[in-house]
Subunit: 233 residues, 2 copies
């Protein structure tokens, strides 16, 4: 992890229309700029660890982060990913609790740290910002609820298909239909909630059925419709 001059963070944190900070006034933006710190992280770096106290939120300027919980037997469960312009760590800040997840860098990232008391201050004085944060929390809550239902009721096969579709929606495909996120088989299994071997076997089946192509960690999606059908959406 390396501290950077704040200017190194492009303005994706606060000026883009989908930014969580879009409703701050220009005075508040100035304050944000003067307090935030920008860091560079490399693959594998841990931003915060489950159980640790965190004193602020992190806004992703670039890169990809995985957010996971560690189960009682030590196995990771990936809860979600975060990419550019997304905010992480706010749950612990607002609840004033230790982090309940670990945030680890999947692809080299530039990340802005925003002190928690500043976030709280903005919530209290800027109703529109409060609404945006509330909406963000509620959006994640809705996604979590769907996730619970899926994991509880669907087979591993269905869930893997759904995960591939979600990754496609979140990270897109390149010109040759390859998923624009690189995950190990183990990480895939930690999203689906299954054993690594099961993921490998199912991916092979999908390949045999010409639904996907595999080349190391590159996954080329050939037949979205088939995946949708398998996912039982």
């Amino acid at each position: 992890m390396k501290a950077l001059n704040s200017l190194a963070c492009n303005d994706s944190c606060y000026s883009k229309p989908q930014s969580i900070f879009r409703h701050l006034t220009s005075d508040e933006i100035q304050k944000l700029l003067s307090f935030k710190e920008t860091f560079q992280f490399r693959r594998g770096n841990v931003i915060y660890t489950e159980g640790s106290r965190i004193t602020g939120c992190y806004c992703i300027s670039s890169g990809i982060i995985k957010i996971y919980k560690t189960g009682s037997d030590g196995k990771e469960q990936i809860i979600r990913f975060a990419k550019a312009a997304e905010l992480i760590g706010f749950r612990s800040v607002f609840n004033n609790e230790a982090a309940c997840t670990t945030a680890q860098v999947l692809e080299d990232s530039i990340i802005c740290y925003i002190p928690g008391d500043l976030m709280v201050q903005f919530v209290k004085i800027n109703g529109n910002f409060a609404m945006d944060l509330l909406q963000l929390a509620c959006k994640e809550l809705g996604e979590a609820n769907s996730y619970i239902t899926d994991i509880a009721q669907k087979t591993v096969r269905e869930r893997l298909a759904e995960v591939l579709l979600n990754l496609k929606d979140n990270f897109g495909l390149n010109q040759v239909q390859v998923l624009q996120i690189s995950l190990t088989r183990e990480e895939l299994s930690n999203i689906v909630g299954t054993a690594t071997e099961s993921v490998i076997r199912l991916l092979s089946e999908f390949k045999d059925d010409q639904i996907i192509e595999l080349q190391g960690r590159q996954i080329r999606i050939l037949n979205t419709a088939a995946l949708t059908k398998i996912a039982n959406l």
Copy 2:
């Protein structure tokens, strides 16, 4: 469902220290009182249905509500319960989306309806209220994340033990250690995320091991320590 004179709702909605409305000013409380409507619901009544538009939140004055999602094969997945002084429906209101869950009455309830635009208005003008709501959403988010990890990684046996412990913490035991919430075996299975028959078999095993006693839907918890051990917490 029967409309009641507002006075029929005791003041648990807004005056108790743990109420979500505890930080409203007296002016705002007056406004809340003039806009809220109070209804009586009976077991089985549906407060709102997945997919429907809801125009406000509901604050439980008394009774117990189950919140569930319906999976693609029609099976219910119970996400959580709500009891006195708890707020439901706020996710849809703030995100301005259709409800993603169904709320159904388990035990006869008195419930206050609060128009959504009033909630939004309070969030925007009262920073402390906004913080409380944000904390509520974040608290549920943290619980949902734990739930995801448990369902993904634990066995049905572990999850059932954990569910019994959670029910004990949420609804308590009476003088003779009987859980103070009455659920069908199917509802239990819809929390755990398993088949009804599996719940029945595991409950019988717990009974054989003298961990619980069963009498119809009454579950008497004899050995909390054993449950904790089984739950692998």
